[in-house]
């Protein structure tokens, strides 16, 4: 059994340049700026920052993206015990819940699609998403020069981190012939030219994981990728600092499967946003839930 990473997805902050200009602000770099921007952009029925608070994978991803930018990257200690309940995590949750106040009322039921629709319809000034390019191009104005993308702001403006998924092809087979055939297929796919074509099956969403792939002409030749080249280059840059919860610093433990299957990171956020607990209470309860499901 083996697995090969095929494409990369990383979270970014998306906005319209013209909207930020009109408000007289720049893309936020620190949490403070981020909150101020969200507040300033929340006028005239527009939500300044579209942030999900659903008990769902998208919220796991966005919350974790804020956590890694607030020094709460590690969920586990080196010995496999949980360290989710720490002041940095609490701080990240506090900030996230605060920022969520500038989101549409139904953000507690959002998945990826709602965030994009909100951004496209200009009901949200900013959203956090892997990519909004395809929706922006087909359903909104599709003006490449106006679409802005930035790294997720970090607490104090230092290194910007993000959640990142290297989606992999996995092979579970003992059959020699099948193994051979699959190997051939994957290496065919990873040849720069073919790889570019494969990634563009979903332009602007799947990013290359190989250095060759990022160079490949077929990747950049796609009309949509060409049109949004500037944004896509930024996205690839931002993905350099990708992290994934439960897979950091070599601290990978099997219980992360149950923790992500039950969306406990997102569930913890709901305890704050929906049930009105304090961030400290919710994070403590979240760690207890992680222990419970890991049994």
């Amino acid at each position: 059994m083996w697995a090969v990473p095929l494409y990369n997805m990383a979270m970014n902050l998306w906005y319209r340049k013209s909207v930020l200009e009109e408000a007289g602000i720049e893309a936020p770099k620190t949490w403070e700026e981020w909150r101020a921007a969200a507040e300033k952009l929340s006028v005239d029925g527009v939500s300044g920052m579209g942030l999900p608070a659903n008990k769902q994978l998208y919220t796991d991803q966005t919350v974790y993206s804020v956590m890694v930018n607030g020094g709460a990257t590690e969920i586990y200690n080196e010995d496999g015990t949980l360290r989710f309940d720490n002041p940095e995590t609490v701080g990240a949750y506090e900030f996230y819940a605060d920022l969520n106040k500038f989101s549409p009322a139904d953000s507690t039921s959002w998945t990826w699609g709602e965030a994009e629709a909100c951004f496209s319809s200009k009901a949200c000034a900013m959203v956090m998403q892997f990519s909004v390019i395809a929706t922006y191009d087909t359903q909104a104005e599709g003006d490449a020069a106006d679409l802005g993308v930035a790294a997720i702001p970090s607490k104090d403006g230092g290194d910007h981190n993000t959640i990142s998924y290297a989606n992999a092809v996995m092979l579970l087979s003992k059959d020699e012939a099948k193994m051979e055939a699959s190997k051939k297929f994957v290496s065919f796919l990873l040849e720069p030219d073919n790889y570019g074509r494969f990634l563009n099956m979903e332009p602007g969403l799947f990013m290359p994981v190989t250095a060759d792939g990022a160079e490949a002409e077929t990747f950049w030749a796609d009309p949509m990728v060409e049109k949004y080249r500037e944004q896509i280059e930024t996205v690839i840059d931002n993905a350099q600092n990708g992290r994934l919860f439960g897979f950091t610093s070599g601290r990978t433990f099997p219980s992360i499967a149950a923790i992500s299957a039950q969306n406990i990171i997102a569930e913890t956020l709901q305890s704050i946003v929906v049930s009105g607990q304090s961030a400290a209470e919710a994070v403590t309860a979240g760690q207890a839930r992680m222990q419970e499901v890991a049994q």
């Binding site: 549409p104 139904d106 507690t108 039921s109 909100c118 319809s121 009901a123 039950q262 709901q270 929906v274």
Partner: protein, 290 residues
């Protein structure tokens, strides 16, 4: 007599065997599972007796789900009865287009559930949906309402959507009851000088009551088991606010990988419903036996 028995057996056996295989056998399996400790489908499990039951019964989320199921069933029953009764009373009148109305009122019931879900998810959405702008234009609200945003509103919205789908069916069953009330009764009452409300109270309501009773039982059983609408719209959220028993069962089995616990909740839910159904059908049978 011997012959009748044999014939009855031949006529009833296919349906019974079919139900035994498709519903009865799985129930036995569920009971078996609930006495073991099985995590995922196909994995072996040790016999643990009633451990799962004591664990489930001491778990607050089970009681919360049971409570929400009761809320769900009662709210659906009330809303559907009100809507359906209004429709049935109107369709029992004569007016131009009543035949067309009688046929097409059923429209919401024949649309696939997934489609119903997508329609309402879109209409209630804060970005692009039709309802929020209408409410704002009408001056009812100032900012877009998050219909699925809080436990309470999510539950209410789900009840509305489920009732929207089911009320026409119930309405037609009621209409069936109404059409069997003889016209002479109304004529006689009219001659006695009874007004519309008095006629409804003295004739329609008492004569319709048995039908309503049967429908209440059936509607309760049907809506208790509704899973797809809730799961597809809110997945039981937010913060577990719409997690009824069927949702809890699904979540425990397929998200939490605790098959035996899920089976335990199922068995408890079944017992609860069976108790209700038995009491209710007895009560109804007393009224009319054939």
């Amino acid at each position: 007599m011997q012959q009748t028995r044999a014939l009855a057996f031949v006529l009833v056996a296919p349906a019974l065997l079919f139900l035994a295989a498709t519903l009865g056998w799985p129930l036995v399996q569920a009971v078996q599972l609930s006495l073991q400790d099985v995590r995922v489908i196909g994995a072996p499990g040790a016999f643990v007796g009633l451990d799962n039951y004591s664990r489930v019964l001491s778990n607050p989320s089970f009681w919360n789900a049971a409570w929400l199921s009761v809320v769900w069933v009662v709210a659906n029953a009330v809303l559907q009865t009100v809507l359906a009764l209004a429709v049935a009373l109107v369709l029992n009148e004569k007016f131009p287009g009543v035949r067309v109305a009688r046929t097409w009122v059923i429209l919401t019931w024949i649309v696939p559930t997934v489609v119903v879900v997508v329609i309402w998810r879109w209409l209630f959405s804060t970005s692009g949906g039709m309802i929020n702008p209408l409410l704002i234009q009408a001056g009812i609200v100032e900012r877009p309402v998050g219909f699925f945003a809080t436990p309470w509103t999510a539950m209410a919205t789900l009840v509305f959507i489920n009732s929207w789908r089911w009320f026409p069916f119930i309405a037609l069953m009621m209409l069936a009851g109404l059409t069997r009330i003889p016209d002479d009764l109304y004529e006689a009452a009219r001659i006695d000088g009874a007004n519309a409300w008095q006629r409804f109270k003295r004739i329609t309501w008492p004569l319709l009551a048995p039908t309503l009773g049967v429908l209440a039982v059936i509607g309760t059983l049907l809506s208790f088991n509704v899973f797809d609408i809730i799961w597809l719209l809110t997945s039981g959220g937010p913060a577990g606010g719409s997690r009824t028993l069927p949702v809890l069962i699904y979540e425990t089995a397929f998200k939490g990988y605790r098959l035996s616990e899920a089976a335990t909740v199922s068995v408890l839910a079944t017992l609860l419903l069976m108790a209700f159904a038995m009491v209710a059908t007895r009560a109804l049978d007393r009224g009319d036996d054939r």
